[in-house]
């Protein structure tokens, strides 16, 4: 069987696959930024002493964590254009779905990170005269993010894998690109193996990076 492994089909389609990979990476990066940004805001709301705010943020998190990701993708792909009355574009609808979905998970990670910063550090910032916002920005969040680096990046790796779910709306990411070639040239074995290997290697590099960063930034 391996004798019949056709490397040529892979090499020939590297540019096409690379285009797919670019979309995968772009989607991962943007969804990651959106998720962390949204997650930070949500986490601050959830930790707020103003009850309606923390309730609203809590409900958001519980809602999205109870939804299958694929359903959220569908929902934004098919229903948001109906709601706003015009097409949003495949990429943007998927990006919004991922960012909103990831924000719910990042919220919980960041909330734990903020809680991991010692109370005394908050006191020390307050005692200097920092306002709540300054204390968060200069004292609490920098330490919280350092403590969270391993979990944040692990979640990023999961996100990177999950972007392949855009398959369901036909957006041409790395997996879909490989799938197209596999079916058109009838090279299922070669293409799926290659795709799997690429995902494996990238995720392996990612988790190694996590460990190095963890050692570097551990407080």
């Amino acid at each position: 069987m391996f004798a019949a492994f056709d490397f040529e089909v892979i090499i020939k389609h590297i540019p096409f696959l690379w285009q797919g990979m670019q979309l995968t990476l772009l989607l991962t990066a943007l969804a990651l930024c959106g998720g962390i940004l949204g997650g930070t805001v949500l986490a601050l709301c959830r930790l707020s002493r103003f009850a309606p705010l923390s309730f609203a943020a809590g409900s958001y998190v519980n809602f999205f964590r109870s939804m299958p990701l694929i359903l959220v993708i569908f929902w934004f792909y098919f229903l948001v254009p109906l709601l706003v009355g015009r097409p949003v574009g495949d990429f943007y609808s998927v990006l919004i779905a991922f960012a909103l979905f990831e924000a719910a998970y990042y919220c919980e990670i960041i909330r734990a990170g903020i809680s991991s910063v010692r109370r005394g550090q908050v006191y020390a910032g307050q005692a200097l005269g920092l306002t709540y916002g300054q204390n968060m920005r200069y004292i609490v969040l920098p330490q919280a993010f350092r403590n969270m680096i391993p979990v944040l990046l692990t979640q990023a790796i999961i996100l990177f894998q999950d972007t392949s779910l855009v398959y369901v709306v036909g957006l041409k990411d790395f997996l879909v690109s490989g799938d197209i070639v596999a079916n058109r040239d009838n090279r299922l074995f070669e293409m799926y193996t290659t795709i799997a290997l690429v995902y494996f290697v990238l995720c392996l590099i990612g988790s190694r990076a996590v460990r190095r960063l963890q050692r570097k930034y551990a407080l």
């Binding site: 006191y123 307050q126 005692a127 200097l128 005269g129 920092l130 306002t131 407080l219």
Partner: protein
């Protein structure tokens, strides 16, 4: 300067402060002592509003700390505070620890803050540690940086919350020396500590707390000299014997 009148505080049903009243005048050094759990640390944190209290009034320089309308960050920026566990910011350098409040709260330029930081580090004898991170310093050094950080804000009063309790014995004096010097320069100080040597040397008054109550509040000479309440005697005999 600092006035605490009939302050009570509860954690749920548990009353940590019971009708506490005392004061610290300008230039005065007041030492607060008492067994652990007596409410000393809670009381000192009420002075700059780090701990809220339910009853009573605390005023600093005429401003009421408990008032809803009080700008607490602004009030706190005038009061230096030093903590038991130093609480230097671990993610920034020693110099940046001293610069942060100056730049972000007082609005000083980076150069001005830098210059002030270096002068204060010189004063606490740590210029050579300026670029290090807090974790690279010993406990005594960290606490001296923490004092420098508080002084950088040009405070009108300093609060010390058990500044030497987390230190190894050989490092206690380097911190106390800085504090004694401050006291002798006329800084208004409120100090929660068990260091009775420090109290004898520079305190004007000693306050003894037990179970959330201020049991004694006397000039140093009276506190260490004349007969006192049973609890204070027992406490003193325990900590002075070693």
């Amino acid at each position: 300067m600092i006035e605490i009148r009939n302050v009570s505080k509860w954690y749920g049903d548990f009353q940590v402060l019971k009708n506490c009243t005392t004061r610290v005048d300008k230039g005065e050094v007041v030492v607060i002592c008492g067994p652990s759990g007596s409410g000393k640390s809670t009381l000192i944190k009420c002075v700059n509003g780090l701990e809220p209290f339910q009853e009573g009034v605390v005023t600093v320089n005429g401003t009421s700390v408990g008032d809803r309308g009080t700008n607490l960050p602004k009030l706190r920026s005038h009061i230096g505070m030093v903590f038991q566990n130093f609480e230097l910011f671990p993610h920034i350098s020693v110099t940046d620890n001293i610069k942060l409040g100056q730049v972000k709260v007082l609005g000083r330029s980076a150069d001005e803050a830098q210059e002030r930081a270096m002068r204060l580090l010189e004063r606490v004898g740590l210029v050579d540690q300026a670029d290090k991170y807090p974790a690279q310093l010993s406990g005594g050094q960290q606490q001296r940086v923490a004092i420098a950080r508080a002084l950088a804000m040009d405070p009108i009063a300093m609060l010390f919350d058990e500044p030497t309790s987390a230190l190894d014995p050989e490092m206690i004096n380097e911190v106390l020396d800085v504090m004694v010097e401050l006291a002798q320069e006329g800084m208004t100080m409120m100090v929660v500590t068990h260091e009775m040597g420090f109290a004898r040397k520079v305190a004007d008054r000693v306050v003894f707390m037990d179970e959330g109550r201020i049991e004694e509040d006397a000039p140093k000479e009276d506190f260490f000299g004349s007969p006192r309440g049973e609890r204070a005697q027992l406490f003193l005999s325990k900590i002075l014997h070693h």
